[in-house]
Amino acid sequence: MIRTTPFHPRTSALNETGLWQHWSGHLAASRYQSSDKLEYFAVRNAAGIFDTSPLYKYRIAGRDAERFLSGMLARDIRQCPPGHAHYTTWLDERGFVLEDGVIQHRSVGEYLLTSAEPNFAWFADRVGRMAVSVEEVSLGIGALAVQGPRSRDLLARLVPDTAALPFFGITTGSIGGRPVTVSRTGYTGDLGYEVWVETPDALAVWDALWDALDGRGVLPYGMAALYMLRIEAGLMLLGVDFDSSRFAFNDAHRSTPLELGWRWMFKGLAEDDRPFIGRRALEREIAERTSRWNMVGLVVDWQDYDRVYSAAGLIPPKDHRPIHEDWMVYDDERRRVGYAASTMYSPVLQRHVALARVRPDLGRPGTRLFLEFTVDHHYEQVAAHVARLPLYNPQRKTA
């Protein structure tokens, strides 16, 4: 049977649409009222609140926790002191991505890892003789994302340390008299935080948080708005923009971290002598330049887009709802050079945009390419240019 999250009694009262979807075995609101775009704008212009409890969560702790994780995670966890979090990934021995997630270094030797799919066995089975425990705590912890330009001021009223929390910092405090952890993380590409609570405290925390937010322009947002926000933010979605190597039948469904645009995670790789799973393959990929793809943003040429629709006698649609399908990408000579897996019309950018994989030599911002889709049931190729990710990157996100 489908589960509900610890906040469900409150989110279900707010969901006016009756629209829910299943996310990791839980009910998750698709949207709370008739307009997903309104919820999206709440995040971009004020603040939104999102129940992100269905994530898998693992507590990894013990004297050897750092040593263990530095061998398991591709990004160097030793650079993540207590009170900080990392966006990270873990690879297989061939250097392909198993998954990505955020890991919080909560206190010395104690970490909380979140992921989209189950990873307990993969971590637990590799502990060996190290003094580390891996604990499945998914259902014991509820999580709320509070995202948007107002999020800092609103949360700081409840958890004062939030005011000075750096990007990917974490702190603790209490909301409604219950202990919480606040991390400056999220999946929207905006200024934003996530509030982590013990499940029994969930409703008390929600109520106190909601009291503080209500009437201040904050709206609950659902999956539909989240999927819009994350594309603009250039954040990959498992099962859409990449798949886990573990369950892939062939390499077309595998990606290396470099192919996903995560080269920045390995800036210190040359100086860091740490052995980790996938390291050799990663080094070889860097040295031999064998990456097959470059993950880029595409921004569609508005005139060309209007042209193909107008020529067909149609009003050019500008639909903000993300399309999670493979749309082919071509170069100037109309050779196929990649594909986009996430496409949408971005209201803040006022353009159609996509997250696309292109041949590595075509990743330079400004490179002219063509995106293919159907108009009137036939293929059209429309001009686009390569843009750096994230497509939308407001200063406030990290300021």
Partner: protein
């Protein structure tokens, strides 16, 4: 003496758009604004600490999408926030509430009339077809029908062939809208008086017509020509109100290199031998320029900034005959909370878009009757917008700003004058709101009133006409602002016009500013793509 390639007189949205395009086209450009802030009628003012009022213009839809892209407005903070609902309270406590769920809206219509649901879809489709056909005309200078220039004849022919390419129904609907009354048009589709009143309300905005006047169809069509993210007829509030939008325009213009000078009222345009040579400011400063562009209304452009004796008599006469007849006022409120509707209460969601006080065509027409005889409406038409429900930065937590666009309040009152009638008129507005939202008066923290006289005094719009010249068929397209002068030029070489009094007209559209810039750059031999 300072010297520029181009000087724009007036920093309203069209002046800013024009200046941005000219600067983008490589011209050393100066925009001169009389007041202490740019934006013209599209400004936001904090008249009470924490409360931001859209003093005059208050929503966005008609802005031409090309301008967003060509001037790279998203880089400068362009953020049109979707209005997610539309609400029309009826006279008897009944209402129509539209959300973003189309099927939900059809059910809402059926509640009033089963007949009107698919009629509503047909109406929307028919209107979209007409808008699709007409929109390209917004982005070009009208062909000069009085000229023998081959280029003009070609343009005219292409206009003709465009019309011929329309299907019969669309062309016929276009003509019915352009020449007929909105009441006749909506009567053909609908039964529900509430729905008809609602739809016909956009046929009177800013115009001295009632929904039953021939010509109101044109006003309805004009207000349907907008879009939000490609969705025709949909409106948005810009972040920070329309003043937030004009600040974005100003930043874009400056980014292209245009200079903006505030508190720099222009006294007159300097001319020599039938040619503009610059401007003289009120303080006596003279600034030279090859091109001078007036973003003011046609009366000021032709009769005040230059000496009418320098212009052909027929043009002067045409401009004198141009109708302005402002009938609109703004009454803006700071509120202590959300108004309560008798049936729906004080729910925030019903206020996330326009709230239309115009519950039937009779109601609108009666409101208009007063204007015919030089009186303001006892029960006015009101277009309400509580922008703080969409942009919470507009008011303190739990409090709100309410913008009320009010008709009819004729510029020329038969009895009394606006300095005397200002507050009594606003009392009528408040009493009307009290009728639809009992207890409304208790929420009022502050009230601000802008009559047509105030609009004229503060903004310089003649007779307070918000479109800088009424939307009447003989004042549109080929004839806006005057026959033979619809291509943004004037009889004085180097002197151009780019305000809402030129084609295609008013609203925060920017097309006049953009089209005029194209014409200027083309005349200088440096057309832009």
């Amino acid at each position: 003496m300072d010297r520029y390639d181009a000087i724009i007189i007036g920093g309203g949205h069209n002046g800013l758009v024009n200046g941005a395009y000219l600067a983008r086209g490589g011209l050393k450009t100066l925009i001169l604004e009389r007041r202490h802030l740019v934006g013209g009628a599209a400004i936001t003012e904090e008249l009470r600490p924490g409360f931001s009022f859209t003093t005059f213009s208050y929503a966005l839809s008609l802005l031409r999408p090309q301008i967003i892209h060509e001037l790279e407005l998203p880089r400068h903070g362009f953020l049109p926030l979707l209005m997610s609902t539309r609400f029309a309270p009826g006279a008897d406590g009944d209402h129509l509430l539209f959300t973003r769920d189309h099927d939900e809206n059809l059910r809402e219509i059926i509640r009033h009339s089963p007949h009107d649901a698919d009629a509503y879809e047909q109406y929307g489709h028919d209107l979209d077809r007409v808008c699709q056909a007409i929109k390209p005309l917004l982005d070009m200078a009208p062909p000069d029908i009085f000229s023998d220039d081959p280029e003009e004849l070609v343009a005219l022919a292409s206009l003709g062939s465009r019309l011929r390419s329309l299907d019969r129904r669309t062309l016929h609907n276009a003509v019915r809208l352009l020449t007929g009354s909105a009441a006749d048009f909506v009567d053909d589709y609908f039964d529900s008086e509430l729905l008809k009143g609602w739809l016909a309300s956009s046929s009177i905005i800013g115009s001295k017509v009632g929904p039953r006047s021939q010509g109101s169809g044109l006003v309805l069509l004009f207000h349907s020509l907008g879009e939000h993210d490609g969705e025709f007829g949909t409106w948005a509030f810009h972040k920070g109100g329309n003043g937030g939008f004009t600040q974005v325009l100003a930043r874009a213009a400056q980014a292209f290199g245009a200079e903006i000078r505030l508190e720099a009222p222009v006294e007159r345009v300097l001319t020599r031998d039938g040619e503009a040579t610059g401007v003289a400011l009120a303080d006596g400063t003279e600034i030279a320029a090859d091109v001078v562009v007036s973003a003011l209304d046609p009366r000021r452009t032709f009769l005040e900034l230059v000496d009418p004796r320098e212009l052909p008599d027929d043009l002067v006469e045409d401009i004198r005959r141009l109708k302005f007849q402002g009938v609109s006022s703004k009454v803006n409120f700071a509120l202590d909370g959300l108004p309560a509707h008798p049936e729906l209460g004080a729910r925030a969601d019903i206020y996330r878009g326009f709230v239309n006080i115009g519950p039937s065509i009779d109601y609108l027409e009666r409101a208009y009757d007063a204007a015919k005889y030089g009186r303001y409406s006892e029960e006015p038409y009101i277009d309400c917008a509580i922008q703080s429900t969409i942009d919470p930065d507009m008011a303190p937590p739990g409090r709100h700003v309410l913008s009320c666009f009010v008709q009819y309040t004729p510029y020329r009152l038969r009895e009394g004058d606006w300095d005397i009638e200002r507050e009594p008129m606003a009392d009528r507005v408040q009493a009307t709101l009290e009728r639809f939202f009992p207890g409304f008066g208790d929420l009022v923290l502050q009230r601000e009133v802008q009559t047509p006289l105030d609009i004229e005094r503060t903004l310089g719009l003649s007779e307070g006409n918000i479109f800088a010249g009424e939307f009447l068929a003989p004042q549109m397209f080929f004839f806006r602002p005057a026959p033979g002068w619809s291509q943004y030029r004037t009889p004085l070489a180097g002197y151009y016009q780019c305000g809402s009094g030129t084609h295609p007209g008013g609203c925060v559209m920017g097309a006049p500013g953009r089209n005029a810039a194209h014409q200027i750059l083309k005349d200088r031999g440096t057309p832009i793509g």
